[in-house]
């Protein structure tokens, strides 16, 4: 019921779960060996910001626009024409359909 043949190999999610559980226990054991003598509720648990005051909660939340900014900036050459294709105009949607239909009809008729 669980061992799936995937074409070139096998996949068993139950065996994977056992393996993950074992790894988790091992990680927890290693973590439990760490230092537990820090003082809760003191300066020790506050983030170190070079003496600057800690910003408010809404200010430290990373917003969606900031995530992968670098990735998108690096691939500007790819993204600019791609986003430009998505005009949101209905006439363009129809144009893509007619163009695709013409191209595919040609390919199927010729090949």
């Amino acid at each position: 019921m669980t061992l799936l043949y995937t074409g070139q190999g096998f996949w068993d999610p139950i065996a994977w779960l056992f393996g993950t559980a074992f790894a988790s226990i091992l990680v927890y054991w290693i973590w439990s060996k760490g230092r537990g003598d820090y003082k809760k509720g003191t300066e020790q648990v506050k983030p170190f910001l070079c003496g600057n005051p800690e910003p408010g909660k809404s200010e430290i939340h990373v917003r969606a626009s900031n995530i992968y900014w670098g990735f998108v900036e690096a691939l500007k050459g790819y993204y600019e024409p791609l986003i430009g294709m998505h005009t949101g105009e209905l006439s363009d949607y129809v144009g893509w359909f007619i163009g695709g239909l013409a191209l595919l009809t040609f390919v199927i008729l010729v090949v």
Binding site: T6, H61, Y93, L104
Partner: protein, 519 residues
């Protein structure tokens, strides 16, 4: 039991027309919701029974208006003259997938639409949408397929515009309506070509006489492009993010399955209608190219979205690419028995398994997005944050859906993607590597949603919001359960429903002979 194929469609259709009456006579506070959920539960149970019957007895036919439901060829007739349903492993598989999604979405809608007006119209359209979807998947008649496609298109457009007080909803619905009508028109023209040539409308009857002349080639091109547009394949996908983002979340969850009905139509046309009579390598590569473009452009466009449902909509396009890739590889090697057995059938199984997996986890993800909108009042990821503090169940459901779509073990998306990677690699390693890269990018963009909407400190504007209401949690819970169950027992699912579906697509002779007999 022999009436099951029609009952699974007729009961929701009857209830759809009964709802205005129930509303008129004031059948109780939750009467509309109750009969809708009841009829969809009936359809789901009916589909499970029908699937078992197909597994035991082979493809099932239901002839409308005949003396016997199985009388496909009346005495003296050389072609079927009546409309009929033909249910094989593939159509039963698709209808089962759609039935599960429809039931979960209907339960979710109970609380989700509590404060909306026009609920009687909503449930009528919702059930008509289900009827259109199931009809497309069960019919054995190409004109009937067009009729059900139109039913689903009209109901979809109206449901996208359900929140008519929002300009964006109306705009998305108009776009959907125009594009959907255009593609349906070209489907009808293709039907005209085939009917004019073969004097028949039945899939099996046309397939038996198929010559693949120039007229057939034009019909094939019209059908492939029109159905590719309806299932959201790049570059014909532009309408999809608009419609998916603006429709109510429960409708969007169902629209995923409705789009897959067009994908099913594409596969049915390629495998059962034209089969090896056409150049399967050429058409297979066309499907593969649609798949690769959809995977890559879908996911890269998703990465830059800032609106939660629009981001998920681009992922729906991307995931459709996996299905097109897997089944496209099977189509490309359909004429080569060795390659088909060696890896083609496995690629198809991966693609087909991904269809039901996608319907479940993408349906779940859209429902979680709806829960976020329901409570936070915005879909803008730049404004959201820290919702996990107040909405723990929704967060857990989102994690399950996101892990599944990203192909993380042990969820269902991993199993189907692994089947696609390994089998497609033998066909063309570059395609397989691209599929893996797309999976990494999928994970990246769902990390973006998770971080920006659910993680982070509790924001002051959301400190008082509550968890989603019970019916919404139940709707999401059904789909989350299926995602986890399919992930933990993939072999059971592949053996019982995926393998028969893939073999049914490949076995064109069996599909034809069930209707045409030994003629």
């Amino acid at each position: 039991m022999e009436h099951l194929p029609i009952l699974v469609v007729a009961v929701p259709l009857f209830v759809a027309f009964a709802i205005p009456l129930i509303d008129k006579v004031g059948g109780g506070r939750y009467a509309k919701e109750g009969v809708t959920v009841g009829s969809l539960l009936f359809s789901l149970i009916g589909m499970i029974l029908l699937l078992k019957r197909v597994a035991a007895l082979g493809p099932q036919v239901y002839v409308f208006g005949a003396a016997l439901p199985t009388l496909t060829l009346p005495t003296g007739m050389k072609v079927p003259i009546r409309i009929m349903f033909e249910v094989d492993g593939m159509s039963a598989f698709m209808a089962l997938s759609g039935s599960i999604a429809a039931l979960a979405a209907a339960i979710y809608s109970i609380a989700y639409l509590k404060d909306e007006t026009g609920k009687d119209r909503f449930y009528v359209l919702f059930l008509l949408l289900v009827v259109g979807m199931l009809g497309m998947e069960l019919t054995g008649d190409i004109f009937n397929f067009f009729v059900f496609l139109e039913i689903s298109s009209i109901a979809s457009a109206a449901l996208v515009a359900f929140r008519y007080y929002k300009a964006e909803s109306i705009e998305a619905a108009i776009k959907y309506m125009v594009v959907g009508s255009l593609s349906a028109l070209f489907v009808l023209i293709a039907v005209g070509f085939l009917y004019g040539k073969y004097d028949a409308l039945n899939f099996a009857a046309i397939a038996k006489r198929m010559e693949f002349s120039w007229a057939d080639k034009i019909a094939l091109a019209l059908l492939v492009v029109s159905l590719a547009l309806k299932c959201g394949a790049v570059p014909l996908h532009m309408w999809l993010p608009d419609a998916y983002a603006e429709a109510p979340a429960s409708v969007t969850a169902l629209l995923v399955s409705v789009s897959q009905a067009s994908l099913y139509g594409l596969f049915r046309v390629c495998f059962s209608l034209f089969g090896v009579k056409m150049s399967t390598l050429t058409v297979g590569w066309i499907v593969i190219i649609f798949g690769v473009l959809s995977m890559f452009i879908g996911v890269t466009m998703a990465l830059v979205q800032k609106e939660i449902k629009r981001l998920m909509a681009f992922h729906a396009i991307s995931q459709t690419g996996y299905m097109l890739l897997g089944v496209g590889v099977g189509l490309a090697v359909l004429g080569n028995p060795f390659d088909l057995k060696s890896y083609g059938l496995m690629a198809m199984k991966g693609g087909i398994f991904h269809i039901i997996n996608h319907a479940m986890y993408k349906g779940l993800l859209f429902l979680t997005a709806g829960a976020v909108f329901y409570r936070a009042g915005t879909r803008d990821l730049n404004k959201l944050g820290g919702l996990a503090h107040n909405m723990p169940w929704t967060t857990v459901y989102f994690i399950i859906g996101a892990a599944a779509i990203a192909g993380l073990p042990p969820f269902n998306g991993f199993a189907s993607k692994l089947m696609i990677y390994e089998s497609v690699y033998k066909f063309n390693p570059i395609l397989s590597i691209m599929a893996m890269i797309v999976s990494v990018l999928t994970l990246a963009s769902f990390v973006k949603i998770f971080q920006s909407a659910f993680l982070g400190p509790q924001l002051p504007e959301y400190k008082d919001i509550k968890e989603a209401p019970m019916s919404m949690l139940v709707g999401m819970g059904i789909l989350a359960f299926v995602v986890v169950f399919f992930g933990l027992f993939p072999e059971l699912i592949v053996r019982t429903i995926v393998d028969p579906a893939a073999k049914a697509l490949v076995d064109q002779a069996s599909y034809i002979s069930k209707v045409m007999g030994g003629m």
